[in-house]
Structure formats: C-alpha cells, structure tokens
Amino acid sequence: MGKLDDMVAIVTGASRGIGKAIALEFARQGADVVVNYKTSEKEAKEVARQIEKIGQEAIVVKADVSKEEDVKNMMEKVYGHFKRIDILVNNAGIMNRSSVEEMTLEGWKGTIDANLTSVFLCCKYVLPYMKKAKYGRIVNMASVAGVLGVKNTHYAVSKAGVIMFSRVFAKEVGQFGIRVNSISPGPIDTEMIKDWTAEKRKQRTLETPLRQLGKPEHIAKTALFLVSDDSDHITGQNIIVDGGIH
C-alpha cells in the first residue's frame, strides 16, 4: 500500500529537477500525477512515461503558471479529467543571478511572477475544488534564500514571499481541512547549480555538516511527508532541507 493511494496530485514544473523527483515519488506511492511544464515538452512526456511504467496515470499539461488564464485552464482540465485534486505542489520557479544594481524592472517582475505570483494563482484556482472536497494538501517550494538571503535579492524576496504566503494561507484554509506548508531546500544538485565549479562544489560539500550536496530525492521525500497523512497536524510550516549548512 502506498502513502498516496487514489490521490491526484498536480506538480508544477515537473519536467525536470526537483519537480520530476517529486512527481515520480508520488507515483511510487500510488498517486496519479499531473505533470505540468512550460517549455520542456519532451522531458515532461518522458516523466509521464516513467509514471505510467510505475503503474499510475499521468497527464501532461502545458501551462505558464504565472499566467492567470493558463492556471485556470489547467485546474479545469485536471478536474474535468480526474474529478478531484487532492494535492498541489507549487514547484515551478526560476533563478537568475543579478545584483539589484544590474536588475531591470522586467527581470524583477519576471522572477516575482514565476516564483511568487504562480503560487498565488495556483492556490487561488485550486481552492474551490479542495474546499468542496474538504480536503487538500499544498506544498510550496521556497528556498533557504527566502529565510536567510545571501545574494540575488529578487530571488530571495520571491522565496520569502512564498514562505509567508504559505503561513498566512494555512490559517485561512485550515478550517476547510486544507494544509499548506513550504519546503526550503539548500542548494540541490540540479541544473540550477550547473554553473558551479568543481572547487565550489567541493567547498560547499565540506561546509555542509552532513557533507554532501542535496539531491532532488531528499526534497521529494520531505514533500511526500508533507502531503501524506503522517503530517496531518502540520500546517503553515517551512521545512528547511539543507544538510545543516545554514
């Protein structure tokens, strides 16, 4: 028996990296999964294929989650197909490196829209379905950058927004049987840190108390915990998964 038998989960940005690991973990635990992507169609289809191999249903939905119409359509499509939405993982996000001095207004808005407005939109448009079912599990992907902020102000601010959104939204919807939490990964070994030099990787590994870089699977297991019955009394929390480095 899986931890998510008969559940339907939407994972945004599930074609690659952490989102992909979460989608596959949920499928292994018995969930049918909506694989959302924006540009990586080929990769998304491959994730769907892997989910089907596990024995679960997967539907691939293209949507730019920072666009209201796209999000609305995605939710309608998913509900129309499965007649339920139990789980939403807002994972889609971007990171550009830039100082405030060099950041353009367009770049700033792009990051806030992709990382924070997307969370608002997906939560807003999934809410009617979850409220009706009196059941819902939402996990929002934040970052340790949103807790501490090292550099890249725009990114840190967007992720701090995600943490606070989760916290306040949790209070709003707790009475409807909906739980909302966020996860703040430290640097995870995905494309997001592909520009790190070998030396930087080594140094970061040594600085981390658990002596390894994070893997997408570490985040996936935490996401699983937060959407399963095992965490039924946990809401509004931000779980830092960073090997102790921060």
Binding site: P209, G236, G243
Partner: protein, 250 residues
C-alpha cells in the same frame, strides 16, 4: 520494507504520553526499542509487552534522566545489550504549573535538569557510539512553548527549558559528523495525560485558536518523529518541526 528495520532506538520517558506512542510507532516500523522510565514501572512493562506483541524486542531500563550517572548507565546498558544505538529520542520531560511567586528554585532546577540538561547528557553519552557507527538520528522533543512569542503564563520553567532544547538542537547540529542528524519536534496541544485535566472552557477556547480546529493525537507527534528518524529525512538536520495544527502561527 518498513522504515526502521534493524534499528535500535532509545525513547526516554516512554512509559506514558507521547513517548509511549513514539516507542510503539518505532516498533511497528521494525525497530527494537529501549523503554526508559523513572517511576512508572508498571506502565513501562505494559509498553514493552505491546512492543513484543508487534514482534520487536523491548529492553526496559529505569533511569532518572536528570541524573548524569543514570543517563550514562542507560546508554551503556543499551549498547551492551544491542551493540548499537541508531536512534535516540529525548522525550522525558516534566512541567510545574506554577507562576513565578510559587515556583521554587528546586522546582526550576528539577524542570531544567530533566528537560534540558537531561537532553544534553543523553546526547553527550550517545555521541561516541553514533560517531563510531558513523550513523545516528537524534530527535529532541521540545514544545511550541519554546518558540519565540509562544510562552504562556504559568509554565515558565517548562517554556525556558524547551527553548533551550530547540537551541541546543540547532547548535549541536553544526558539530555532528556526516551521517548524524539532530532535530527537534515541537508539539502544540496534544491529547495526552498531561492535558487531560484542562478545564473544558479553556480547551474549547484553545481549540478555536488552532487553524485545524483540534488538538493533536499523540500518534501524529509520533509520525513526525518517525519521519525525522527515518532515512526519508537524511538531509534534514538542526531543524525544529512544529506539529501544532497551526496554533503558533497566530
């Protein structure tokens, strides 16, 4: 495969309350469990019996966690018997429901010695074993009373001790080796013996302030501890996991 197959876990103060539920949850997941108690021998034996029924081994060890030599003996007995200690849950705790005018220095000392110093002692004693194994999980039971802004009148000693536990956890996480994690769990209102005697009006009022509109079941605290004790949380250390239905968000 279960989450704790082949593991040996010590749960301090596991004759009753949350500790008992943690011990049983661990056994269900395949761990052998050391059931520690101070006074409640009968209840501890009953917990051990239930663990054996689940098909796991239970070792009963009497120890007052506030006493250094007894904590040392607890860890030594465990190691001698099982030749390993994979998981330590520092759960034993006491509370004096008194305001400062009523709270004696002795009361204060008793709470601090059990809740905070006892946790330190157990961590210290188990550390050489976990370092040798290059493997270990420590989970300290704190409380939302130990959070900033969440203290409550009349539980001064308890709140201070639990704040200490949360910080001890964060600080110690930085010292530990590659495969040893330490985290705390902070329950809010939970349906345990400790809270059975709450006035009904007070309980109703408090329930209304919890976003999920209920107290936690002790099993739910045990599930959070299980998560942190399992390999699912291998990359989590130095964290405080709040299990309170959202009560402390306000």
């Amino acid at each position: 495969m279960r989450k704790l197959d082949g593991k040996v876990a010590i749960v301090t103060g596991s004759s009753r309350g949350i500790g008992k539920f943690i011990a049983l949850e661990f056994a269900r997941e395949g761990a052998d469990v050391v059931v520690n108690y101070n006074k409640s021998e009968k209840e501890a034996r009953e917990v051990a019996k239930q663990i054996e029924k689940l098909g796991q081994e239970a070792l009963l060890v009497k120890a007052d966690i506030s006493k250094p030599e007894e904590v040392k003996a607890l860890i030594e007995k465990t190691y001698k018997h099982f030749k390993r200690v994979d998981i330590l849950v520092n759960n034993a705790g006491v509370v004096e429901e008194k305001e400062i005018s009523e709270l004696s220095f002795k009361d204060w000392e008793k709470t601090l010695h059990t809740n905070l110093i006892g946790t330190f002692l157990a961590c210290k004693e188990v550390m050489p074993i976990m370092k040798k194994q290059k493997l270990g999980k420590i989970i300290n039971i704190a409380s939302i009373r130990g959070l900033e802004h969440a203290g409550r009148a009349g539980v001064l000693d308890y709140s201070a001790s639990k704040a200490g536990v949360i910080n001890l956890t964060k600080s110690l996480a930085r010292e530990l080796g590659p495969r040893i994690t330490i985290n705390s769990v902070s329950p809010g209102w939970t349906k345990t013996e400790m809270n059975l005697g709450l006035p009904k009006d007070f309980e109703k009022e408090e329930t209304g302030k919890i976003p999920l509109k209920r107290f936690a079941e002790p099993e739910e605290i045990a599930k959070a501890v299980l998560f942190l004790a399992s390999s699912d949380a291998d990359y989590i250390t130095g964290q405080n996991l709040i299990v309170d239905g959202g009560r402390s968000l306000n």
